[in-house]
């Protein structure tokens, strides 16, 4: 393919779409529009749909790049606005998946008004500019053919509806099913896992339970399926039904182990203020574009990084606190804070074809700044990760870091060690400093008054 020649590097996530591949040219993201897709792309622009969606912040902005000798046979080459950070649906809380689902349906509805439809309804086509969901697949529109069924109906149900229903009716942690099912949660699996009462909800009855059965029940009826029709009215009704079903999937907020952490953590207000001041000064001095806050809870320290101008990915393992953080960011219209769910002892790996379609957390770095506050003792004392391995990982994730060391005699460490043998004879300040110095330059070590805890402000190694 021409676009992969002479230094153009294809993006490993975009090989499936024959409409046009995404690639990097001189490090900048570009996307080819193939001639076969030209009528659809031209309609997207000429119908005014692109302008409308882009102005509303629903679709990624792009500019048309001048065609070069490398672009032979291409209809256009687009240069989409770059994203600060790419996240994946298995890293979202239910509220984020719901927002992405509603955006997809809203875009589909607007597309129909302009004589187009969405040919894909993949959750991976949605990214977050902070709290704002954004469709990034400019080539997922197709000219609407009257009476043709919606080709992305099943994909929408498997990518959005099934995992959302499971997370609301059963447990928010079930969104992690999307990590093992990149094509969406199979409807028969969702139907088996959902409670009996979900059969009484018309939306779930039709789009998950019956739909799942129809997939196997009608699978032989290829001739009938090729003749199947769906009027515009029925399509609008289908979209309306999906929207009402998604909108109705809300989980009553229940407290989790971590939801009252900020109130119950063992800091005095003095040491907490001191900690915030150290972090604030560090991020203001580093002027990061991208920051990662690991073990962020409700994101109090992440917000210090966003205040310093950074796009901040605020990661926590507990979906309940991530949900609360996302709700707050949405309410405030925050476009720089992205809360994500991830077990940091088992961070997102590379997934998909050849393990490269979806990037691991460390492949999406390095960030300019990493905050690892009240985190290392969990990795070292609860997950048994030796300190040199923790700092090596932090070194891959960020250029600079603020790392908090929580000594063994701290009440929180004692809790972790309460019912197990202390096998951690290398868990102390000298070993922490030695491990950090392998990957960073320790610029300052600040003892937090009255707590025995230490904040290490770290710059780049050799910097």
């Amino acid at each position: 393919m021409t676009s992969s020649a002479h230094g153009d590097i294809p993006e490993p996530a975009s090989f499936r779409d024959p409409s046009g591949q995404v690639f990097r040219r001189d490090g900048v993201i570009h996307r080819r529009v193939e001639t076969r897709y030209a009528p659809h792309y031209d309609r997207l622009i000429s119908s005014g749909l692109y302008a409308r969606l882009a102005a509303a912040g629903h679709l990624v902005l792009h500019e048309e790049a001048p065609l070069t000798g490398l672009d032979q046979g291409a209809h256009r080459v687009l240069r989409p606005a770059p994203l600060a950070f790419v996240s994946y649906p298995y890293e979202w809380c239910p509220g984020q998946l719901r927002a992405a689902a509603l955006l997809t349906l809203d875009v589909m509805h607007q597309a129909l008004e302009h004589g187009l439809i969405l040919k894909d309804a993949s959750a991976f086509n949605v990214q977050f500019a902070g709290s704002r969901p954004l469709l990034i697949d400019t080539l997922s529109f197709e000219i609407y053919e009257e009476n043709r069924p919606w080709v992305a109906y099943r994909q929408f149900c498997e990518h959005f509806l099934a995992p959302l229903a499971l997370s609301c009716a059963r447990d928010p942690r079930l969104l992690s099913l999307l990590r093992s099912n990149l094509e969406g949660v199979p409807l028969r699996v969702a139907s088996t896992l959902l409670p009996m009462r979900s059969w009484l909800r018309l939306g779930l009855l039709s789009h998950v339970h019956l739909h799942g059965r129809a997939q196997t029940g009608f699978s032989h009826a290829t001739a009938a399926a090729s003749r199947a029709t769906l009027s515009r009215h029925s399509l609008l009704a289908l979209i309306d039904s999906l929207r009402r079903t998604v909108d109705g999937l809300r989980r009553p907020s229940r407290p989790s182990d971590w939801s009252d952490y900020e109130a119950t953590c063992t800091y005095t207000s003095e040491s907490r203020n001191q900690k915030a001041e150290v972090v604030r000064r560090f991020v203001e001095g580093a002027r990061p574009k991208l920051a990662l806050d690991l073990g962020a809870n409700l994101g109090a320290f992440s917000r210090l990084a966003t205040a310093a101008g950074a796009f901040t990915v605020s990661i926590d393992g507990d979906p309940t606190v991530v949900e609360a953080s996302f709700a707050r960011a949405t309410k405030e219209g925050d476009e720089r804070l992205l809360p994500l769910v991830m077990d940091l002892a088992n961070p997102s790996p590379g997934l998909g074809w050849d393990g490269r379609e979806r990037q691991s957390l460390s492949d999406r770095g390095p960030a300019d700044v990493v905050l690892a506050l009240a985190l290392v003792h969990h990795l070292a004392l609860a997950a048994n990760v030796p300190l040199p391995m923790v700092t090596a990982w932090l070194g891959r994730l960020g250029q600079r870091a603020v790392v908090e060391f929580v000594p063994k005699d701290d009440p929180q460490s004692k809790r972790l060690l309460a019912v197990r043998e202390d096998v951690f004879d290398r868990y102390d300040r000298p070993h922490m400093e030695e491990a950090l110095a392998r990957h960073f330059t320790i610029e300052a070590a600040v003892e937090l008054s009255g707590s025995g805890r230490v904040l290490y402000c770290c710059g780049p190694r050799g910097g």
Binding site: W150, Y153, S206, L210, G217, F218, A221, L230, L236, A237
Partner: protein, 71 residues
């Protein structure tokens, strides 16, 4: 129970009867989804139509049988 709900429930009883119980060994989920949505959307579409026009129908009945205000 409201009329739109009744329409949709009645429709689903028919859909349930239509979904074949036996599954063939060769599975092509896209085919099933294509056919299913054209069936299910008719039912949902009926409910949608009744729902969107229900308020208009109710208004008309109110005007027919309600107290006359233009006297």
């Amino acid at each position: 129970m409201r009329l739109p709900t009744l329409v949709v429930l009645a429709g689903f009883t028919i859909v349930l009867a239509l979904v074949p119980r036996s599954a063939f060994a060769y599975i092509d989920p896209g085919t099933g989804s294509f056919l299913f949505q054209s069936v299910v959307a008719v039912v949902i579409g009926a409910g949608f139509l009744v729902r969107t026009s229900w308020s208009r129908i109710r208004e008309r009945f109110k005007r027919l049988f309600g107290p006359r205000r233009d006297v």
